[in-house]
């Protein structure tokens, strides 16, 4: 599952393996997220509400030969359970609807749990890099190609490590503390999960056409690889 998104990635405190919920934002940002039963698969912050106003520019279709399609983020299909949709979230694995009941393989909410290792990397906007104080960043992309490259990386991680993969990159304006990128790899054992996660982020940073423009008190510049180019 690969996604470019303008909405915040809210992982926060409700990351509880084997459940991982990404995406969704509160209707009222001034309200703190409330802890909801993650099994309801609703927005954790607003019961019954799903992500609104987010721009999901594409996703990974089951068939990689198919072009990216613009999808309704409210009905993202679970990457682990084909055909199952998840409201307001991107889910990698889930737990049974009723935790008191033992999981059954028939329950569509039951993650087919052959993956015992899950490694997640989040890239967070720094407020300070050396002596430079960052006010905010703006990310832009060649979106069609970025999604294509992310899908290729996803497929390669699957081939090399047998990993189930989630990659989310935000675009637009981000402030220090915001999560700009999140990649996750799940594999049967931890070693491959660490390797796969590292592969995902390193390859993304090298081969996915996304650029960041950094705004500081003393001016703005493009970051282009190791170079900084003053913005006009």
């Amino acid at each position: 599952m690969v996604v470019l998104i303008y909405e915040p990635i809210r992982l926060d405190s409700w990351l509880k393996p084997p459940l991982v919920v990404l995406g969704s934002s509160p209707a009222d940002p001034s309200q703190p997220p409330t802890t909801k039963d993650p099994n309801t698969l609703e927005s954790p912050s607003v019961p019954g509400r799903t992500v609104k106003g987010s721009v999901v520019l594409g996703s990974s279709p089951a068939d990689p030969s198919q072009p990216a399609t613009t999808i309704d983020p409210n009905t993202l299909e679970s990457p682990s359970v084909p055909g199952r949709t998840v409201k307001g979230s991107v889910v990698l694995g889930s737990s049974p609807a009723d935790p008191s009941q033992p999981p059954t393989t028939k329950d569509p909410n039951t993650f087919e749990c052959s993956n015992g290792g899950l490694v997640i990397f989040q890239g967070i906007v720094r407020g300070r890099t050396g002596d430079v104080e960052t006010e905010y960043l703006e990310y832009s992309a060649h979106t069609e190609m970025a999604l294509r490259q992310m899908r290729e990386i996803e497929n390669e991680a699957r081939r090399k490590f047998g990993a189930e993969v989630v990659m989310v990159h935000r675009l637009g304006r981000l402030s220090p503390g915001d999560t700009a990128v999140l990649v996750a790899a799940a594999t049967p054992h931890r070693s491959e999960a660490f390797e796969a996660c590292r592969f995902l982020i390193d390859t993304l940073k090298q081969d996915v056409p996304i650029w960041k423009k950094e705004f500081t008190r003393s001016g703005a510049f493009w970051v282009e690889g190791d170079r900084q180019v003053a913005a006009e």
């Binding site: 992309a141 060649h142 294509r148 990128v181 090298q206 960041k212 970051v223 282009e224 690889g225 180019v229």
Partner: protein, 75 residues
């Protein structure tokens, strides 16, 4: 032949993000850079044809989209 050219990051600032060019039939990515006065960028930028990385000397076909990609900085 005609092609659509996309520029990004500081190149988009400097030259504008989109260009429609008319090119000779044997044009390559290098021809595109030259047409835009960007001959010097081929040493550090990459080129993509129809959203796939390509070589600067790969041929371009009529209707192709050519993207000139400065070193990326996602993540």
């Amino acid at each position: 032949m005609r092609c659509r050219v996309l520029l990004f990051a500081h190149l988009a600032d400097r030259c504008g993000p989109n260009h429609d060019l008319t090119l000779p039939d044997d044009a390559t990515g290098r021809t595109v850079a030259s047409e835009l006065g960007l001959d010097n960028i081929t040493s550090f930028c990459r080129v993509a044809i129809n959203s796939r990385f390509a070589s600067w000397d790969d041929p371009i076909s009529d209707g192709d989209e050519v993207a000139i990609l400065p070193p990326v900085s996602g993540g």
